[in-house]
Symmetry: C2
Subunit: 597 residues, 2 copies
């Protein structure tokens, strides 16, 4: 708490350099990561880690990241700076003295739409405008490819183009099938897109609780999470200093930041759900929109009549926001104020381009509760609300479960497509069994990979600490790597035209005993290298044609090389194929008495 | 190496006691684990951990486990003791002096079938006999249940009965759909069954390599692996002392032990694959059968004409046994001696009831190679060999891949069912992407859960060390827990009638903040407890209605309890449901001007 500037992790990943690809339509520089490979062309991969991994950038957490988007916003000419809302002690949970996180040192006036206009990417898309943000994400999604491999996958109706064009991006956003979460006040943002016809994305949750953590730890977690591949980060802080912590995070975040405004609203009423009001919530929306939050989770689908549907559930309502709203509704005998005031919420969000993440307050928190009446009642309401939000040019994605056994996962995707008009789906896992606390990053990776394959656009990670406590930075990394591999497995299965390049490059390295290349191409080079070095640490081992799993005599890959060399010596494999075919010269068939009796 | 008796882990798991259920038809005692729950009846679960977790048993690794099956074998009257093959220095890789692992202290004459009879569970099943082994596994599979929950799953044609009967077991074995791997010389075995219509099982691989590990470590790993739930263990040792290490393992193993005899055969010819001969291999089969190995992986499906099919693969042949056989075939320009002598192999195995695990020597070792011509050519041959083995009353299971992207997994199950006559399928993962070395327990858990759901009977685990080095005991535990959760997720999705009891019990404990119960019911109570205690270590925290994830004000489960209490106070949830329905008394609809524009 005494150290005002958090220590963060910077520096390139192994064998990697940051490159920037230029725009054609706009003056933009799109970051990407290039992994050097010892005997091949380097591999370009998507890169969410921001300037922290760019040796050419000096980052200073107390100053924040550079303004990337200011010029784009000015050019559009539809926003104005204004004197924002004053920060009051309630915004930080009445923390004071040493307990008060310092305010972020640099404050600037927030921007807001002029004249009640919508300044959302959806509005621009519908108007036929390709924004710099749209071109940016199009270039990003192609990962520096200029072509595409032959298609091989099952996309369940998703349509992934060989190469993403800015026009394709515009069309997808206009159709509501994709969003670019990009609050006009988050000017440090490197834009990204969430949609079924793009790479599957992942979100990492950070944030303190009343029990533990601090601003320094949370900023460090954000930088750490994106280093390992988190595409967005949600600040789910529920303790003190929510406002100031969020400032430090957003000013230093190159990725979209999401929040659940209801948490801070609840803090403002001392944790008494019944004391929540629309006015306090509305004020919190504006407070957070001015800071630059890119998407809000809004549990407007938890309606009064749905609450009794949860009465017989094994785990009740497991969503924080959902349980808070349910408590409020029940106490007041009233419909949710979020549902009642939904149009006004839209009016606020369209003025800043904050995207909706329509919350799954009634998601199942146990296998027993999966796909129940409450869950799908809410989903149908989210579909209605999607239409209202779209009518006001607000970008929308839909949140999803939860705990779902494998055989019920496809139905979730089908129902969401049916009721929510192809808005992007954003699930938490799902966990495919309840019986492994401590390993829920794995129980959920199974469900996440599957639902990502079926069409889910973004997967919210789960760490080993799920159900047990607040994740620390090690948990954050484990969760991120786990969800990156799940998202990639989904891209492969969908037949994403760029996905298999990395698998192939790594497997070639593996087969050729280029150990450093294998480590460098993996999602976590440090861990792979360290594990290998536990038993074979010497420098010479990095070119050894075996590892300690099998030793030199039993390494199948080494033997495979011997086989190929032998075949070349003899005849060449192709000729061999001819010789060895059934009936060919070298075929020695089973004798008669050895055949099936 | 100086310590002749390995240190192993013993003692009950938390809140657990060992119980034994009696047979009705035979004099048997079937072990099970009973987990105490603070406010419910205890939960009985399947237990592979053997006497090591039974406080009533004093285990002594230097003496081995008790003889469980001797009486059953004598009663059958179809086996005889004989003077077994002499152990020669080549069996232990010519290790000597301090490098020679001591022989297991107790040696007894091996048993063998009399008069060329088949003493396999398959032969008995076909003869209409229900053996003690069959009744044993039937009781085990029911986990102490006397009834079954309503069926809820998608079994893809599998037929899981509400309660398994000994007759059902017999019929499944007779049909070839299941096996009980139970060498007559493995008398310490607690029998178990592998089949699509039973609980999905998992295997843990252990074994030294030329680079690392020792007998002490390997015996410890075996006991550790079964403690956490491994149903079988394969000793894949490839270094020195293979014979003696195996003895120490089998004599102390309550679970089936599998091997790949080709490894030891290769060691006997100094690691030169071309010098392998049928005679050396045959001798090795007998050596290992006499020790009590319950199943042999035999790569008889790697045939000469298939080798060129691997020429363009990215990762060649990744199976140790497959690559060894391919090298031999190519060098000698001959059909595989395993294929040529298959009938003789059957004659040996039927005399001891060693089950076949028909090896997938040509499995894909990279996403690029998945489902290729070589892989399925071998699979079809395994189907032919299955018929030959069955004709000789040998039990058979079929090994499978490997590295397979999600969209290609179902085809593997379909092809195996089509070509292998419903013999049990036993896969290694599959890994669903190549890009995460260090996390391949997770990339493969995704594929394993899916293929288990589709009908695979046993899943061979993968540890975090895959591709990087030999697993240590921590890796073994991580791999086992990961695969237990994957197998359980598969059972749930198949609608196994007993599976959801544990999820429900744990979720009830979670919802009611019975933290100790939640930990105790999980697959890894120690880790769950430790993770929770990182931030909330005090005794009082074990009844706290929150954890550090959300703190007291934001815990959705606590709020859910408040909601239910409030509802009860007001009217009771059922009445509430009536009041809250759309159009009911308390429903407050959206105003007209708030509806969709």
């Amino acid at each position: 708490m005494n150290k005002p500037v958090p220590a963060i992790t910077t520096g390139a990943l192994p064998a990697s350099r940051k490159i920037h690809l230029p725009g054609q339509m706009h003056d933009i520089r799109v970051p990407m990561r290039e992994i050097a490979i010892s005997n091949e062309d380097p591999l370009r991969v998507y890169d969410s880690s921001g300037p922290y991994t760019d040796p050419d950038c000096q980052t200073d957490i107390a100053r924040g990241l550079a303004d990337l988007r200011g010029d784009w916003l000015i050019t559009r000419g539809d926003v104005e700076a204004y004197t924002g809302r004053k920060v009051i002690p309630a915004d930080n949970g009445f923390a004071e003295g040493k307990r008060l996180t310092p305010a972020f040192p640099i404050q600037r006036p927030p921007l807001r739409a002029v004249n009640g206009r919508a300044v959302t990417q959806l509005a621009y898309a519908r108007a036929g405008i390709i924004t710099p943000e749209m071109e940016f994400v199009a270039i990003r999604e192609n990962e520096g490819r200029i072509g595409a491999a032959a298609r091989d996958g099952e996309a369940f109706g998703a349509e992934l183009p060989d190469l993403v064009t800015p026009e394709f991006v515009r069309a997808e956003i206009a159709a509501g099938r994709a969003i670019i979460p990009a609050n006009i006040n988050h000017r440090e943002l490197e834009p990204m897109i969430i949609g079924r016809n793009f790479k599957v994305k992942i979100n990492a949750n950070i944030g303190n609780s009343a029990v533990t953590s601090s601003m320094e730890e949370e900023v460090d977690k954000m930088v750490w999470a994106i280093r390992w591949g988190a595409d967005t980060v949600m600040d789910l802080s529920t303790g003190r200093n929510i406002h100031n912590i969020r400032d430090w995070i957003i000013r230093n975040a190159p990725v979209p930041i999401g929040t659940v405004p209801l948490y801070q609203a609840l803090e403002k009423v001392g944790g008494v759900a019944e004391d929540l009001t629309w006015e306090i919530f509305r004020d919190t929306l504006i407070e957070q929109a001015e800071q630059g939050v890119d998407y809000f989770t809004i549990h407007a689908g938890v309606r009064l009549h749905m609450i009794p549907m949860t009465a017989r559930r094994v785990t009740g309502i497991v969503s924080r926001g959902g349980s808070i709203m349910a408590k409020w509704c029940l106490h007041h005998h009233r419909e949710s104020f979020l549902y009642d005031h939904f149009a006004e919420i839209c009016d606020i969000m369209r003025a800043y381009d904050v995207s909706f993440s329509l919350g799954d307050g009634l998601r199942p928190g146990s296998i027993a509760d999966a796909n129940d009446e409450a869950q799908f009642a809410e989903l149908r309401t989210l579909g209605e609300l999607t239409k209202i939000a779209w009518a006001k040019d607000c970008q929308v994605m839909i949140e999803g479960p939860g705990h779902v056994p494998m055989h019920k996962i496809k139905a979730n995707m089908d129902e969401q497509l049916k009721h929510c008009h192809e808005a992007p789906f954003y699930t938490l896992g799902p966990l495919t069994t309840d019986i492994a606390p401590g390993y829920d990053h794995i129980t959920s990776a199974i469900g996440a990979a599957m639902i990502g394959w079926f069409g889910t656009a973004m997967l919210c990670y789960v760490t080993p600490k799920e159900h047990l406590g607040l994740p620390d930075r090690d948990d954050v990394k484990t969760g991120v790597i786990t969800y990156k591999l799940a998202a990639h497995a989904a891209d492969l299965a969908k037949g994403h035209p760029g996905a298999q390049r990395r698998d192939d490059a790594l497997s070639r390295a593996r087969f050729e005993f280029r150990w450093q290349d294998q480590f460098n191409l993996g999602l976590d080079p440090d861990t792979a290298r360290a594990m290998h070095d536990e038993t074979m640490p010497a420098e010479a081992h990095k070119v050894a044609h075996f590892c300690s799993m099998c030793g030199p005599k039993f390494c199948s890959m080494r033997i495979s090389h011997d086989i190929r060399a032998e075949a070349e010596k003899q005849a060449g494999m192709d000729k061999m194929a001819e010789l060895f075919r059934e009936g060919g010269e070298l075929y020695v068939p089973l004798k008669e008495d050895e055949l099936v009796k």
